[in-house]
Amino acid sequence: MLRKLFVVLGAVAMVSQAGLVMAANPDTGPGCGLGKLAWADYKNQKNIAPQAFMALTNATFMNTFAISSGTSGCTNDGQVMADQKTTMFALLNFENLTQEMAQGKGEHLASLAALMGIPDEQHPAFFALTQERYSDLVQAGETSSVALVKTLNDAVSRSPVLAQVVSR
């Protein structure tokens, strides 16, 4: 159920994003336009992976990720795009992120902190914050990754330690 929700959310995020970029350029960049099909695709792959031949030959269903499909559109132009990067990352790594929030550390969480512009030396404080706010964050994340990132940003800006170091 949750997965389906993410697929839909991802699709919405991607369409709006693709629209933004497409207007300027019909085919941009390395394409991180993955939100739409990522989950559905993986489910498929998981079922197929055990088949010996599939594994033997390394074909993956990359067609859905293909740049030519036109779903791509993720450049690194300014703040707006950076924000989308964070949302996208939060969306596609939700399970790993929530696990690491509860555990108070981890590379997904560190990567999210990096995307949010939190300097390395403040990561432990950020990790502790996410652990403390775990339930709120998961609840927000189950609504949407946008809500998750917003809740996180609010928490950071209210934290006496972190608010100072994050320029916004």
Binding site: G29, P30, N58, I67, N93, G104
Partner: protein, 651 residues
Amino acid sequence: MPGLRSLTGALFSSLRSIVHILSLLLAGLFLATSVAAEDAPAPYLTQLLQQARQARLADAREWHLLLHYRANLFGGYTSEQDDPGFFLAPDGKTNPEVELDATLRQFFSPDLVGRSKQPAQCAFVARYAWLKERLNVDPSQLPPMPCERFERWIDEFHARSVTLVFPSAFMNNPASMFGHTFLRIDQEGQTAQTRLLAYTINFAADVPPDEGLAYPVRGIFGGYRGQFSTVPYYLKVQEYRDIENRDIWEYRLNFNEQQIRRLLMHAWELRHASFDYFFFKENCSYHLLSLLEYADPSLHLTERFRFWTVPADTVRVLAAEPGLVNEIAFRPSRVTLIRRKREHLSDMEQGLVKRLVRDGSIIESEDVRGLPLSRQAVVLDIASDYALYISERDEAQVAISRERNRQILTARSLLRIPSEDLKILPFAMQPELGHKTSRVSVGGGWRNNDTYEEVSLRTAYHDLLDPEPGYTPGAQIELGSISLRHYNRADQTRVERATLANVLSLSPMDSLFHAPSWKLNMGMQTITHGGCELCSNWHVNGGIGAATETHLLRHEVLFVFAEVEGNYSRAYEERHRVGGGASAGFYADLTERWRMLASTTYLRYALGDKSDDVRWSVAQRYTVAQNLALRMEYNHRDHDNDVLFTVQAFF
């Protein structure tokens, strides 16, 4: 009114035809001038063409790398690239010289070319950069065009270094031992914790879903298009580490800034092109090698793979290049993570992990709460990993194990302490430490009352007795092997054994992991049966079973199988027999280099030639060097007793 309308209608239509004629005339004029322009090329172009010819640039290795030309068997060249949009001359695929001329000519034009619809200078940035440098192009006579799309694309990588990534085999699927490779473009300012954010460059076949039986056929004969893509590394990690449970090896390559730029420029050109994908040779790894070759033309990589490209072999080749690999990192799969972390638990705590995933109310029990905080954290962390593992593995359990994971993590977050850093060691060493994939064996021995000499060749890949470093423990896959024997007393030379495929997967079961073991074997061997000595016998054998491991000496794996078998031989009545039975056995590492494998099988054939078969064998291997081993095998089968000594070399 209708009259007026028809009048204006007629007027309009005649006006339209006049406009039409006019526009045709104009187009004709245009065409004429453009033809005239082609007839008399810019003097500077003529000069560049001449220069290129004098310098024999069309014969240069770099030009061939850029266009992916390979020498044909009978002279001439053909490009491996299969997208017409990749070439600027109509016969560019087979003619390096004409293609080079057309490329230079096109560099003067802002016309959009290729599938990416850009001016040639931008669509083929690597070709442009190389020719510009080699011909010392005067920018005032051939002005460089702005390539915003490319510049934005390449900046987005924030490239600092390049890493080759190798996901190793996944559990219980020996076929995946062939592995996969892709590149990761590491970012400026990236730390070990933020590697996930880097982009990858991945080459894969574009396979429509639900291909079914057409899949192997099309795959082998190049029926799919292979394309490059650039996916963030975190998605690849999810795919291989979390979903498929494959350990990942990362090899940082020692490329300088300029080489990385060359690599990315060429990757940009290839983004919009496609190669026919051949599973065995022109596969994911092969085209990555060609990309690396262009980045550093002093590397000669693709030419080492003439018939097939095994991804693990490409890792070996790269690791053997002096100074190319400067850092190797290991990223454990979820299963490896659980199995390693579990080693730190007491029996009671291990039991808790299992109960936690089954029943959420255990979290508040005295068994958990009575533990010190740090122990509670370890137990809950492993339980969460295990819940995620179940949710990826078992379709029916997804919802419930996710819910359980939430409960576990909520409790975990309330402990308010960070998890300890545990060093997770791999169970299998990295692939370049393993033996090479093809094997030749020479030896001799006794069979019944005769002596013989034997030569064997196996094209691929690994069996249970081969030296294990670099390979997944308990996984075997042999493809295409043949053994020739000369019997001295019978004075007969014959094909003693042949294997089409022999796959075996032993997955030790324990309290958390319950994957079955399985095997499949197709081939022929020599038997004595019903008065026929030295008779060829074809077999198909499949089995399903269970395995368990112990650490009494060093490492032992015990296994049992229920199996079915079909035989075909002229030694049988009705030339065939079909039956079933069971087998049991074990392998044990006696020292680091010495392994023993013993097994016994009983099969009863109810169809065709009604008979039964008792087999047992004891075999030992001693590893002399990475690519050299000694074996001694004793095989008993029905009426045959066979002792064989061999020296085996991997190449």
